[in-house]
């Protein structure tokens, strides 16, 4: 089952204005750099982006925001991005803020065919507005629904031609659940190997969830908060 496409252009060829896209990553860690650059290049607009964060002003999803390509963001935390805050407060950008755990679980649910589940997160807050509340074990919970997307774009460390993926360290984050929840899931990887080279015991995302895979060209892997100690 060969899922390999030539390059990022080929992988993103049918992503058009107005679609909903999930993008893996936490801050700038584990984001699909090549595909984001391609979306910027394609100049498509009116995108709904589901991503935990919105990048920084000049990297990650911030690049799409700068060019006003995003109509709506569904995220949990969008600090560290002045342009985002400006567009949101001015009303140019629709924003749906979701508790991080609910965002992760809603993506997983979307991929797993679970249309809705109960969670305690957000009860009694504005997140719960319009949502069903039910008590379990004496504790109120709200009903959250599944999220899916026309395209999910994820970034992995290693991948094989069958679409199996291995992530590195905390660059895993939202990538595995989003890979499950895309109608078409596109994976970009740092190292693409033939099927059979990855240990089937060590694979994080089974290839069944991935429709297209390609090797990314370069990775800047920008660090958002470089914190070090001295020897």
């Amino acid at each position: 089952m060969n899922k390999v496409v030539e390059n990022v252009e080929e992988a993103c060829k049918d992503i058009t204005s107005g679609v909903t896209i999930m993008l893996g990553g936490f801050g700038l860690c584990g984001i699909p750099e090549n595909a984001i650059a391609e979306l910027v290049k394609k100049s498509i607009t009116d995108l709904t982006c589901i991503s935990n964060n919105a990048g920084v002003d000049d990297f990650g999803l911030g690049l799409l925001l700068q060019k006003h390509q995003i109509k709506k963001m569904i995220s949990s935390y969008v600090g560290e991005n002045d342009e985002f805050e400006r567009q949101m407060l001015s009303g140019e950008l629709e924003v749906d803020l979701i508790p991080q755990g609910s965002l992760a679980e809603r993506c997983r649910a979307g991929g797993a065919g679970i249309p809705a589940f109960f969670t305690p997160a957000g009860y009694g807050t504005e997140v719960a507005e319009g949502k069903e509340v039910r008590e379990f074990n004496g504790k109120p919970h709200i009903l959250e629904s599944a999220l899916t997307a026309d395209f999910a774009i994820v970034k992995a460390w290693k991948g094989d031609t069958a679409g199996n993926l291995i992530y590195k360290a905390t660059a895993k984050n939202f990538n595995p659940m989003m890979a499950m929840a895309g109608k078409i899931t596109i994976a970009e990887v740092e190292e693409l190997v033939p099927a059979g080279e990855l240990n089937p015991n060590e694979i994080h995302t089974p290839g069944i969830f991935v429709q297209r895979i390609f090797q990314g060209e370069t990775y800047e892997k920008r660090i958002e908060q470089r914190t070090v100690r001295t020897k």
């Binding site: 936490f26 508790p99 991080q100 914190t227």
Partner: protein
């Protein structure tokens, strides 16, 4: 009056051996520097690591290894990486014994507000709503008053809530307090040199003072 570092130091006394702990950004992060002797705890960061270690040495940063504050970190022996759904399964499923986080306001019924100032600051709640709705033990680390000198311990919160009735303990620069549902903030300890009257003055919500209030030990 405690410094931020001393607030962290006092909170570290709450740690118990064998606990998994999630530390929020800011003062809570400093708690990791004051783990009491003979106690072993493991730090969870909700972006996907258990067994978080100190910052890396200069030149050894790995862009793929960060904490929830997006800071470069290291992993200790026995560490493990996982995805965000698994991370919040740990949190929501109450496998994390203690959450320490900052707040803009806390109410005497345990409500907490720390994510939004309407029309002004909208960064998002991140994992805070999941953490406060799920944790069995929540300790809030904050200044007793805001920059304008107004109390952050209120009868009810004025800002959009992060969670309802979830805060158990508060450690501020002035005091250690416990939320007693239906009653108010019970004063447990005073910061060195701070009087009950000063704490009373800085507390807008109901303050419960019973008997002699000891000075905290650091």
């Amino acid at each position: 009056m405690l410094s931020k570092t001393e607030i962290a130091q006092r909170i570290a006394q709450e740690l118990q051996d064998g606990w998994y702990v999630n530390l929020g950004i800011g003062i809570p992060t400093l708690v990791a520097n004051y783990i009491p002797e003979g106690i072993e705890v493991e730090f969870q960061s909700e972006n996907g690591i258990l067994g978080m270690g100190p910052f890396p040495f200069d030149g050894e940063e790995d862009a793929d290894l960060i904490n929830a504050g997006k800071q470069t970190i290291t992993a200790l022996p026995g560490a493990v990486y996982f995805d965000s759904a698994t991370s919040f399964a740990m949190i929501r499923g109450q496998h994390v014994q203690l959450t320490v986080l900052g707040a803009m306001e806390v109410s005497e019924t345990g409500d907490i507000a720390n994510w939004k100032i309407p029309g002004r600051m909208v960064k998002g709640m991140g994992g805070a709503m999941d953490l406060v709705a799920s944790a069995e033990n929540i300790v809030v680390a904050m200044m007793h008053t805001n920059k304008k000198g107004e109390s952050k311990l209120l009868k009810s919160c004025s800002l959009p809530l992060t969670g309802v009735g979830c805060v158990k303990k508060i450690v501020t620069n002035l005091a250690v307090l416990e939320v007693i549902p239906g009653k108010g903030f019970q004063l447990l300890e005073r910061a060195p040199g701070v009087s009950v009257e000063e704490i009373q003055k800085a507390t807008a919500g109901t303050l419960i003072v019973e008997g002699e209030i000891p000075e905290m030990k650091l």
